[in-house]
């Protein structure tokens, strides 16, 4: 009697289970407002369009590579978003699946710089961020024009450095080092100069702390990314971004295919979706990331706050990701020792 009663329920359950057995795509994102925008622009529309489920894990780039390394025998991610040249590290360790140009329909519309690393097994760039100086327009008149302006002694108390564990902190640090005459093998010029700004200057490790520093701790100047100026302005702070005259490092964020996963086709579709002009425009409008797709249409105020076009891009300074990869540990160690109290 009991079996007869439960059997239909069991059958219905089995049907429901198989019907809802959609494909799942596992990706990482960077949390907070970024992840919210990520879901609006890409994740949710992609899920609907392809009737799949996208599982998002909030984890920053360095931790993602560490996890991929630990999972090498059985990776848990399908698509990973990586900043700071960590895609070079991941590719060198054999964690990524190379992408052929023919596998992406948007390939022909990308700026050359965005796809230059496909041949070495790395993924395409999908954001271009530019590292320069964020400054308060009401406190710093005229605006700082050189990277060396951060070392003005009276500004020390109002300076915010970002720890090199953050990819964009690392690029800003390396640029300052370059301007002061250092190289990737010799970061002492920057370390000595930064040590002199301590203990007045603040050192933060996560980007929301920069916002806190500007809002609550009287910060006026911070080497960081162009798009973050927009985030601060949205929060009501009078902050502008400037590209110092010595140049601004390009800080690409890449989207990569993980090696050894079963749903490569779906993952490639996701990557292709991320490179569409409408999606790129959406990112520029929401967070002022510079687009990688030549077909992206932007309004004039947005275009003024991002870096677009071949000409503007060619002026950006590129810090070699492979060389950085090889020296990252040494640079991080030197930094840690220099800033420790």
């Amino acid at each position: 009697m009991t079996l007869v009663r439960t059997l239909p329920a069991l059958i219905a359950l089995v049907f429901a289970a198989t019907a809802s057995a959609q494909q799942t795509l596992v990706i990482n994102s960077f949390g907070g407002d970024y992840e919210k925008t990520h879901r609006e622009l890409i994740i949710t529309p992609f899920e609907k369009q392809n009737n799949v489920k996208v599982q998002v894990t909030t984890v920053y780039s360095a931790d993602t590579v560490a996890q991929l390394r630990a999972q090498k025998e059985r990776p848990q991610f399908d698509v990973v978003h990586l900043s700071g040249g960590l895609d070079a590290t991941a590719a060198a360790e054999g964690l990524l699946q190379p992408i052929q140009p023919g596998q992406l329909s948007n390939y022909k519309d990308l700026y050359p710089i965005a796809m230059q690393n496909l041949a070495s097994g790395r993924g395409p760039m999908y954001h271009i961020a530019v590292i320069g100086l964020l400054y308060r327009t009401d406190k710093l008149k005229p605006a700082p024009a050189s990277w060396k302006d951060v070392f003005e002694s009276k500004l020390a108390k109002h300076l915010v450095w970002t720890d090199v564990s953050n990819q964009w902190g690392m690029l800003g640090f390396l640029m300052v080092n370059q301007v002061l005459g250092g190289t990737l093998d010799n970061v002492n010029p920057a370390l000595d100069a930064i040590k002199k700004t301590l203990p007045g200057a603040t050192i933060v490790s996560k980007s929301p702390e920069i916002q806190q520093a500007f809002a609550q701790s009287d910060a006026w100047l911070a080497p960081y990314a162009q798009d973050y100026a927009f985030t601060l302005r949205k929060a009501g702070l009078p902050v502008q971004f400037i590209q110092p005259r010595e140049g601004a490092p390009i800080a690409p964020v890449t989207i990569n295919l993980v090696k050894g996963r079963p749903n490569t086709e779906l993952a490639l579709k996701f990557i292709d979706y991320t490179l569409r002009p409408e999606v790129q425009a959406g990112w520029a409008n929401a967070m002022r990331y510079s687009p990688v797709n030549k077909q992206t249409k932007l309004g004039p105020e947005v275009a003024a706050e991002v870096t677009v076009g071949e000409a503007a891009m060619s002026k950006l300074v590129e810090i070699d990701a492979n060389q950085l990869s090889a020296r990252r540990a040494a640079i991080t160690e030197a930094w840690k020792r220099a800033i420790a109290k």
């Binding site: 360095a62 931790d63 590579v65 560490a66 390394r69 590290t89 108390k157 720890d163 564990s165 301590l198 603040t202 050192i203 933060v204 490790s205 609550q216 701790s217 009287d218 990252r328 540990a329 991080t332 160690e333 840690k336 020792r337 800033i339 420790a340 109290k341």
Partner: protein
């Protein structure tokens, strides 16, 4: 039937422990052993003690370890000094007092440690509550903040870990027979003397247990020292995380983890010996 089970109480006990022990073995002992094995690997894959040599000989990492142990010892002392009176009142007071103190102590534990730490960020920051109170009184200069200082870390972590000390002590003090204290009082000992010569010695197991717990939690604490201390005050747990994810130096991260484990195990040995002695 009864005869069979009575004949093998040890077997019965073993069968009851088996699932828990199996879980502990699989989920704790084996991964820890695997972690320790990683610490003995050199860059080329061969056996090497480089990671440990570096940890001991490098002044920077020695400083990190020293700071971690020093702060943990200080926090243990502070939670003991603050926690004992609280626990005593809760154990000896009226049921209502005991209830209120328990609620006050347990409620913070219901909140995530991250949230509690953020509360301290607001209080200890440059324009935070503490600065706003002390500055008008002229006790501190403008721009004063306990954020990003060792003192700030001690204060925040002591508050976060106080509940563990208090809860351990309450149980221990309750176990001390009140009649012993009363007897001491009738023989002429004052409140302080009773405390010193009766209550505290008899609640020693709780004091030791609570101290061990707080010390172990302090040295392995990651979030609070990272958020309150900032990048300029490295602690051991943060250093492990950084070695594992930023510099990707896994042998070194494993060596530091082994050091952390050793620090706690070293304390367990005298404690266990002490307990065995007292029971015997």
């Amino acid at each position: 039937m009864p005869a069979a089970s009575a004949a093998s109480p040890r077997l019965e006990a073993a069968a009851l422990i088996a699932p828990g022990a199996a879980l502990l073995l699989a989920a704790f002992v084996l991964p820890v052993l695997q972690l320790l094995s990683v610490s003995f690997v050199a860059a080329d894959g061969s056996f090497s003690l480089d990671a440990y040599a570096r940890l001991i000989s490098d002044a920077f990492y020695f400083g990190v370890t020293a700071r971690t142990l020093r702060v943990a010892a200080l926090i243990t002392l502070i939670t003991l000094l603050l926690g004992f009176p609280l626990a005593y009142v809760a154990a000896r007071g009226s049921p209502r007092t005991a209830l209120w103190i328990s609620v006050l102590v347990i409620t913070p534990l219901l909140t995530s440690v991250v949230i509690r730490t953020f509360g301290w960020l607001v209080v200890l920051g440059r324009n935070g509550l503490l600065a706003q109170v002390l500055q008008p009184l002229g006790l501190v200069e403008p721009g004063f903040a306990l954020m990003r200082t060792e003192t700030g870390v001690v204060i925040a972590l002591a508050q976060v870990l106080l509940p563990f000390m208090v809860l351990t002590l309450i149980g221990s003090i309750r176990a001390v027979d009140m009649r012993l204290e009363e007897a001491a009082r009738t023989m002429g000992a004052g409140f302080g003397a009773t405390l010193a010569r009766v209550t505290i010695p008899l609640s020693l197991p709780g004091i030791v247990g609570g101290s061990l717990l707080v010390f172990a939690l302090s040295i392995s604490s990651f979030i609070t020292p990272a958020l309150v201390g900032g990048p300029r005050l490295p602690f051991l747990a943060g250093s492990i995380f950084e070695s594992a994810t930023a510099t990707l130096d896994w042998p070194f991260a494993a060596a530091q983890s082994a050091l952390l484990l050793l620090a706690v195990l070293l304390l367990f040995v005298p404690v266990t010996l002490l307990r065995r002695e007292r029971r015997g």
